[in-house]
Structures are given as structure tokens and as C-alpha cells.
Point group: C2
DNA sequence: GAATAAAAACCGTCCAGGTAGTATAGTGAA
DNA sequence: TTCACTATACTACCTGGACGGTTTTTATTC
């Protein structure tokens, strides 16, 4: 193998294009150029545009899953491990979010079914969150609030100031422990 | 004027296409057919695709603004009018949400600047919500949770059951009054 | 360790099909 | 006469994907 990372470089390139130039500019040729590969080379790894977008979603779903799982595993608390990890990862990590945004938008545009891995992920988490020792309704509200941050970043809408975001984070965490 | 509603019919048609068939199927011709208008007729009202999408966003922003404003005006409470209205409208109305989804996705795809009317709207609301007599951090969390519902509906991801959604709604409302 | 074979990882061009936007001629209603 | 369209034709452009090469890696044998 030339580089085990070639496929992943292509996925990053695709995400970058979606983030910076929008979905309509996610063409095979543009992706190939951004990734520094020929169009034929790209098609070798991803035989269609849909396959490319599927690759994006699958990759980021897996990434996110590992991220949360690691955080849960490292937690020393007994109750609310999952919701705490979910909030931590989403509030504190900027990296996977941007790729997540691009992947979500691309999948929604190309073929909604491609979102299935994300759906599975969220369903799993919801189950864990609801059975983690704290009031499920409270836990759900915290999850929703965390998702709200997401929405605002996804569309660059009513972005909170860093201070307010931090205050929200602190209050949510405190609420988990109550 | 033949019908004052022609332009709006076209906007509904465009939203419908985005919702049902995705952004890539929002072509001028498809929109014309869906609206029962000729392509020339469509271009008479919206001289370009971007103008069409701008029309979608402007229209729904205005709609949403009126909806919230009406709810606020009807409120008999003294404190937390805005956050209460925001939660009510978003939780209880399915109509404007779907159009909102389509508009957001279309604008994000075509040209992010088209989202500006929505940004303005959200900034206004955030200001109102933070100065409505209740703890601004609490109010922000409630707004974020409400937006979280949105995100889940937008991508059809981890949709809550109606019961859980209702429980969340009830708990949030109770929290406002605390 | 050199030679060789085969598989993997690419490259670059071509084309059919689709799309935004233009143009133009015409129609019915107010 | 103007407004609010209809209907059709046309163009210039772009894109996905097919296809037929070519180079680089890896595995195998001598």
C-alpha cells in the first residue's frame, strides 16, 4: 500500500470542500484536486459520488463513536457517564464537529439513507443516556441542549459567545450531578 | 395581479421539492412543474435560482417572526414570555418547521449569506430571551434544547417518541416558572 | 537477493445527459 | 397598454462515470 491514509485523505478533502465551498461544489474532480489525486484515482477508492459521501459518513460515525466510548471508559463517575461524555465531547472538541457537519449536509443532500450509521449511533447513545442512573427526561434535555449547540454551529446561526457557552456547559454539568 | 399568492405557491413548491426529493432536485424546471407554472413564469417572479432560494428564506423568516411575536403578544405571563413562546411554537407547530428545514438546507447549499435574515431573527430572539426576567443561562439552555428538537427533525435522527417529547416539553415549561 | 508475476493504486481523456439562464413570440385580463 | 404570465427553442457549460492505460507494491519463486 502506498499510504494507508489515501482514502482518508480523500474524505478529508471532501469534507473541506463541503465546509468551505458548499455542497454544490463537491464534485468528483474538485475532490480529486483537493486531495491531490487524479479523478481516476479517486474513482478507484470510491466508485461513485454516493460511495464517497457514504465513506464520509461512515468514517465520521466511527470516529465519533470511539471518541465517546473512550470518554465513557475514562470516566470515574458512577452515574451519568454517557450524558457527561456526550456533553464533553460536543462542547469541547471542535475537530470532529466540522467534519460531522459536512458529512451530515452531504448525506442529506445526496441520499438520506446514508445517514443510517448516524441514526444507529444516536439511538445507541440515547439508550445509554436514558439508562445511566439519572432521570431520563433530564438527561434527554441535556442531550438536546448539546445538540442545540450543534445546530447553531452547523448553520452559523446565533452562535453563543464563548463565555455564555461556557456558562451553559458548567450549568449542564452541575445539573447532571444534582 | 392574477393571484397574489402565485409567488408564495412557487416558494411552497420549492420547499416541497427540497423536503421530499433533496436539494439536488431543486431545479428551476422541477419547481415550475410542481408549482403548476411555466419556467418562464417562474423566472418572471424569481430571475435566478439564488433569488428563488432567497425568496424561500425571507418568506419563512418573516413567517416565523410573526408566529413568535403573536405568541408573545398573547402571553399573559410577566416573565419568560419569549422563551415560552419560542418553545411553544417550535414544539407544537409542525408546519413552519418543515419549510424552515427546506429553506435552511437550500440556503446553506446555495449561498450561506442567504441565511442572514435567519441570523438576524435569532439574534433578536436571543436578546429578548436573555432580558425577559429569568436567568439568562437557564433561558439559553431551554432555547438550545428546543433547537435540539429541531436538529433531530431536520436530519431525521434520534427522533424522540411523542411521549418523551411531551415530557421534555412539560419539564422545560415547568422549569421556566420555577 | 534477484527475477518475475500479479495485484493494487493509480492517471487522463472522452462523452452523454442534464441544467441555468436567455430569447422570443404570444395570450388574456384589468 | 401593462401585467402576469404560457410555450418553446436554444446555448453554453458542467459533471458523473466509463474506459483504457500506466506505475508502484507486494508476493512468490528461484
Amino acid at each position: 500500500m502506498a499510504r494507508a491514509t489515501r482514502k482518508i485523505e480523500i474524505l478529508h478533502a471532501a469534507s473541506k470542500i463541503v465546509s468551505e465551498r458548499g455542497i454544490f461544489n463537491l464534485t468528483l474532480e474538485a475532490t480529486a484536486i483537493e486531495a491531490g489525486v487524479s479523478k481516476g484515482g479517486l474513482l478507484y477508492h470510491f466508485p461513485s459520488k454516493e460511495a464517497l459521501v457514504k465513506g464520509m459518513v461512515d468514517h465520521l460515525a466511527e470516529n465519533y463513536r470511539v471518541k465517546i466510548a473512550t470518554s465513557v471508559a475514562e470516566s470515574s463517575k458512577e452515574k451519568g457517564k454517557w450524558i457527561r461524555s456526550y456533553a464533553d465531547v460536543t462542547f469541547k472538541n471542535t475537530y470532529p464537529n466540522k467534519e460531522m457537519h459536512a458529512g451530515l449536509l452531504a448525506a442529506k443532500a445526496v441520499n438520506s439513507d446514508l445517514l443510517d450509521p448516524i441514526r444507529d449511533l444516536y439511538n445507541e447513545w440515547q439508550t445509554e443516556i436514558e439508562n445511566d442512573g439519572i432521570d431520563p427526561v433530564k438527561a434527554t434535555i441535556i442531550r438536546l441542549a448539546t445538540d442545540g449547540i450543534w445546530l447553531s454551529e452547523l448553520f452559523d446561526i446565533h452562535r453563543l459567545s464563548e463565555e455564555r457557552k461556557e456558562e451553559v456547559y458548567v450549568k449542564l454539568k452541575k445539573w447532571i450531578d444534582e
